[in-house]
């Protein structure tokens, strides 16, 4: 199972007079892990929603393996900041939604992949926030998707659970090799996970960096270098602002 190529050309999105994305150009090859960082309102989440087919672009083209995005691609999955589990379905039944053609054995295997094999018959309301996101991850991956979009899925978790989830996502990505796009405001998370990081500013790509670090990544001086470069870009404008006052 491999990922999908993504080709975005001249992509624009406008809400009334507000221009959220401006003629975006982006190419990703199969199985690449891209992180998009930026301040709130820079258009990064909108980009994901366009790619997922949840919203229509104002202009431009998006090709997944050469095919124009038209509605929700069957091999695409998206994870949100909230887990969005059905509260009236047990954990296993929730995962089943992501893999209708999968056998019960495959469903429970995907649950043990995220380390929750003993929670299969629980209601989601009995799980912690991190456990819910792990179930959501199992649901997203059980159907062997070719592209996984992550819209700040770890934003609401505590620091330790976040690190665990990052490791889990990395491990499953290395195993299944789907193309992945992570939207986050956490620079360190982006450097931990991504092959390539782009910085969004006002709907445009302000920076595009390839992260050349061996996995699993440790927070050494090389790691800090990438972090510093991206933070400088993100903070740059405000710093100039402060000095000029």
């Amino acid at each position: 199972m491999s990922g999908i190529r993504i080709h975005v050309h001249q992509l624009s999105k406008q809400y009334a007079s507000l221009s959220v994305l401006k003629e975006l150009e982006l190419q990703l090859h199969e199985g690449e892990f891209l992180a998009i960082v930026g301040r709130s309102g820079c258009g990064k989440s909108t980009f994901l929603r366009l790619l997922a087919g949840l919203e229509e672009p104002t202009d431009g083209t998006m090709l997944l393996d050469g095919q124009q995005v038209n509605g929700i691609h069957p091999h695409l999955r998206i994870m949100f900041q909230d887990a969005r589990l059905l509260p009236w379905r047990t954990v296993l039944q929730n995962i089943k939604i992501g893999g209708k053609d999968q056998s019960d054995k495959q469903i429970s295997e995907s649950l043990s992949l995220v380390g929750l094999e003993e929670k299969g018959n629980q209601w989601p309301s009995k799980l912690s926030g991190g456990q819910k996101q792990r179930v959501a991850l199992a649901r997203a991956l059980v159907g062997n998707p070719k592209i996984l979009l992550l819209d700040e899925p770890l934003g609401a978790l505590d620091a330790l659970t976040r690190i665990e989830m990052q490791q889990l996502i990395e491990r499953l990505w290395l195993k299944q090799k789907f193309t992945s796009i992570l939207v986050t405001h956490d620079v360190s998370e982006a450097v931990t996970l991504a092959d390539r990081i782009i910085v969004f500013e006002d709907g445009e790509i302000a920076q595009d960096i390839r992260v050349d670090l061996p996995r699993p990544r440790v927070k050494n001086s090389d790691f800090a270098y990438y972090e510093r470069t991206i933070l400088d870009q993100l903070m740059g404008k405000t710093l100039v602002h402060v000095y000029s006052m």
Binding site: I78, R84, W88, I97, K100, W123, S125
Partner: protein, 267 residues
């Protein structure tokens, strides 16, 4: 040692449990005792006299007949009105066009107290069965309509979006996400409607009827049978409590996933 200790705590727990379940009954029992002490046959028959009246009516068959007729009326009316309210709620909840067309008019009709229609109902239907069913159905339809409609409109948008990402649409989206999401609200509507059902029926039976519990009350009034009048009031109370019990069981069964309905022991 260990074992006798655990048996001891078990007994203590049992006692504590039976005491806490007894607590509920203290006030009703005191009330009954007080009533028995101050009661007088001509103004306020005692509980025992009411029981005797009940036995008399039971033996000549009128009691069970009346209960059966009233219960049947109540639930047939509930079924008709509930179905109409539920279907309209579904339609308007799912289709914005239909909601634009119908909702304002339904809300306008809703503001009329349905019991105000009694003179009209008597003129239309006389003391026929259909008049009472009409009143019950009318009273029941609105709470169920309203709660179904709002239940569907308030289904979590995030869950709907998730469903679409996973390829759910049409019937399967409705069955897996919309209906279960609206169910807590629909059940609140049903519970509320059950109360209105009995109220409408009592009024309709008291004013225009030749059978049922309400008729039993009016004819007992004419013959000054105070014990029977009190009996009918108690009967209505029991029937109301019974339908509330049914609603609670329904909630427990259907909303087991809901944190506020789930039982403690299954955690």
């Amino acid at each position: 040692m260990q074992q006798s200790w655990s048996v001891n705590t078990m007994i203590k727990k049992r006692l504590l449990f039976s005491f806490s379940s007894l607590i509920v009954w203290i006030l009703p029992i005191l009330f009954l005792i007080g009533w028995q002490l101050i009661g007088r046959a001509d103004t306020l028959p005692t509980p025992l006299q009411v029981l005797e009246g009940a036995k008399r009516l039971y033996l000549d068959g009128t009691l069970l007949d009346a209960i059966w007729i009233s219960t049947k009326r109540a639930f047939v009316g509930f079924f008709i009105g509930g179905s109409i309210g539920f279907l309209l709620g579904l339609l308007n909840g799912l289709s914005p066009l239909s909601s634009r067309l119908l909702d304002t008019s339904i809300q306008m009709i809703r503001t009329i107290p349905h019991l105000a229609l009694i003179p009209l109902v008597i003129l239309w239907f006389g003391v026929e069965e259909s008049g009472k069913l009409f009143l019950v159905a009318l009273g029941v339809a609105f709470p169920i309509y309203l709660n179904t409609y709002h239940g569907i409109r308030n289904v979590d948008r995030g869950l709907m979006e998730m469903g679409k990402v996973y390829g759910l649409k049409g019937i399967s989206l409705f069955r897996q996400i919309i209906l279960p999401g609206a169910l807590p609200s629909i059940l609140v509507g049903i519970r509320y409607a059950l109360g209105i059902m009995w109220m409408s029926l009592i009024v309709a039976e008291t004013i225009a009827s030749d059978s049922g519990i309400g008729y039993m009350a009016t004819s007992a009034r004419e013959f000054m049978q105070m014990d029977i009048v009190l009996l009918t009031i108690i009967l209505y109370a029991f029937l109301g409590k019974f339908s509330d019990f049914v609603a609670t069981v329904l909630e427990r069964k259907l909303l087991g996933w809901h944190p506020s309905f789930s039982k403690l022991e299954d955690s």
